[in-house]
Amino acid sequence: MTISRRQFVSSVAGAGIASVAAPNLVFAQNSGPIRIGLLAAKTGPLASGGIDMELALTMFLKERDNTLAGRKVELIVADTAGVPATARTKAQELIEKNNVHCMIGPLAAFEALAIADYLTEKEIPTLGVAAAEDMTQRHPSPWFVRLTSTSAQCTYPFAEYCAKELKYKKIVTIADDFAYGHEMCAGFQRAFEDNGGKIVQKIFTPLATPDYGSYVAQVKNADAIFLGTAGSNGFRFLRQFIEYGLKDKMTVIGGMTALDESVLRNMGDEALGILTTSWYSAEIDNPLNKAFAPAFRKQFKYDPGYYAGSTYLAGEVLEAALKTTNANAEDKKALMTAIRGNNVDTIRGVVKFDEFGNVIGDVYIRKVTRSDGRLVNAVIKTYPDVSQFWTYDKTAFLKNPVYSRDYPPAKNLEQ
């Protein structure tokens, strides 16, 4: 050690006092930059998604020379560590210390729920990524929009596809034992059974499951197994599934985060042919995505997936809204109205928002294929303008309780 204890102690004390006493700067209106806060989980178990979120958004801004609608933009990224209390502190930091005009993120449902009331109180337009159903159903906030999908939104068309076109009769679902997994499987179950299918088993694996062996061994016989998993759990489960010889007996299908591009790049031929459903694929064929995906791949050496797509999309929607308000970010009400009111051309197609702030957009059925020597989620069918309520009556939908582990009740489970 070359610094003495005394020097260390006094410098730390000095830094501490200096930062607390720093005066609250008042930013000049309209002539300063637009400040955007990004809440991303860059450490902790959700780190993979959070890192992608930051990369895509910084790329978006850099492409536009950090200028949206003619005004300079400043991005401040906060690491929530995937912990709700930290997410709240970081939201406070972005809003009170950095004076952001609007926020993008957060990633996880519990992070979003932890800050929802705070965002509403502070009236900060937020473009959310988290999939929690109720945030745009029974407890919506006028200051929150969600651009990606509710947990179940993408499963409805896919369930119909499985029943009607693939003619599956019996399906097993497996997902992580938390709200996201419950909601996704509930939505899939509802639509699949409405179309004549039966969900014969629902498995929920505890959050910290290093070894999926005992769950694989519980899987009953069915036409297919639906992976409602998030992160890399789907992949880890799939490996065990194959090793137990079950892939020859049952088809594997998945939800929007089961075989995300970020997981696919670590997989091999075992993934070929697996169908999943999502609101995005790096292979979507529209001019905006055809520019974005290769650029992302060139810079970061892998395809953009759910998380990278979400923040790039947020940038696109925000830019369109700022163009509508003439780069005025101070009038938050106007900005929010513009965000919710616009129909925007984006990398996932045209998006618009329903009255609860949830996106209405295209949902893609994807199949894992090999292209240019790497695995991709090729789009095989597009369902346009899917809303969070699918074909169900909105009022009746909202009268029901929110999707959970036991709702809708699974009536066809085999013992």
Binding site: R5, G16, V20, P84, A85, T89, E96, H139, F178
Partner: protein, 308 residues
């Protein structure tokens, strides 16, 4: 000299909201909550010689009871807080009966296991606890009719509670009971030979520590207006334990300093440094190598040397 320093500190603490913005005041509130939590843990670790890795149980359970009673059953904050503290203290008594059957690593493991059981229940019993969505939309109480919704008003409320907690816990450890506790920590057999009941002394301390852990849990849920199973996690307990050890267990001020250190690194430094986790680990290594008994003992040694 000491009086001037204490008076200055008091002025700084009370006057904080007048010269710092809301963000820093909120940060200070969080430090106060973490400090009470750490001080309660220190009763066990520093003065009782019982290293617990499950102290978050008390914070979490108190928070959950308050949240459930007010949001789901429509109770007022007063009765909810009372039930919360009573329930948490009773739970501490029960846990103490189980945990005190072991010492050292066994004790650590039991406290860890008990908190993990609670954590698992919080996730699993989602019809009651809302599982990993947590319970949102909570409100803050209005003690004596004052609102504590603003950053400054909550801060002053927390400051009063923290001061009170600090006083009560200091009185506890400097009383004759506290001396017998330290005696049991250092020489349990001798104490038993002298006619003390080491088990009873430990158990009472355990309950008292659980009580103050519960108080910090109430403040926690009032501050965040949200509760989630992560507050019951081992990480939550471990951070408090690390804070206590780093700050200096067995000293009254050590846990406060340690809790502040961990909180600031997590919430403040993390804005400037992406690898703040690594920094936290390095800081711990550094503290142990340079000030083996913690920051506060290390600093007071420095000051003593300096004043010679």
């Amino acid at each position: 000299m000491k009086w001037i320093a204490a008076a200055l500190l008091a002025v700084l603490l009370v006057g904080l909201p007048f010269f710092a913005g809301d963000f820093y005041v909120n940060l200070a509130s969080q430090i106060l909550i973490a400090a009470i939590f750490a001080l309660s843990l220190n009763l066990l670790v520093g003065y009782g010689g019982m290293t617990s890795l499950g102290h978050a149980s008390y914070l979490g359970v108190a928070a959950y009871i308050s949240a459930l009673m007010t949001s789901r059953y429509g109770w007022g904050h007063g009765p909810a807080a009372l039930l919360s503290i009573l329930g948490t203290t009773a739970m501490a008594a029960l846990f103490g009966l189980i945990a005190l059957r072991a010492t050292g690593l066994g004790f650590l493991m039991i406290t860890l296991a008990l908190s993990q059981v609670l954590w698992g229940l919080a996730y699993r019993m989602s019809d009651v606890t809302n599982g990993d969505n947590g319970i949102a939309g909570l409100t803050r109480p209005m003690p004596f009719g004052f609102s504590i919704d603003s950053a400054a008003s909550f801060y002053w409320f927390a400051l009063i509670v923290a001061w009170f907690a600090f006083m009560m816990m200091t009185v506890f450890v400097s009383s004759s009971f506290g001396s017998s506790l330290k005696g049991v920590r250092d020489q349990p057999r001798r104490m038993a030979a002298l006619g003390f009941n080491p088990w009873m002394i430990r158990w009472i301390t355990f309950i008292y520590a659980g009580f103050w852990g519960g108080i910090s849990g109430l403040l926690y849920v009032y501050y965040n207006k949200y509760i989630h199973p992560t507050s019951l996690s081992t990480t939550s307990s471990a951070e408090a334990l690390l804070g206590v050890i780093a700050g200096g267990s067995g000293t009254p001020g050590g846990p406060v300093v340690g809790a502040a250190l961990v909180l600031l690194l997590k919430n403040y430094v993390s804005a400037y440094l992406e690898r703040w986790n690594m920094l936290l680990g390095l800081v711990f290594l550094f503290i142990v190598l340079v000030m083996p008994n913690g920051i506060v003992p290390g600093l007071s040694r420095l000051l003593r040397r300096g004043s010679r």
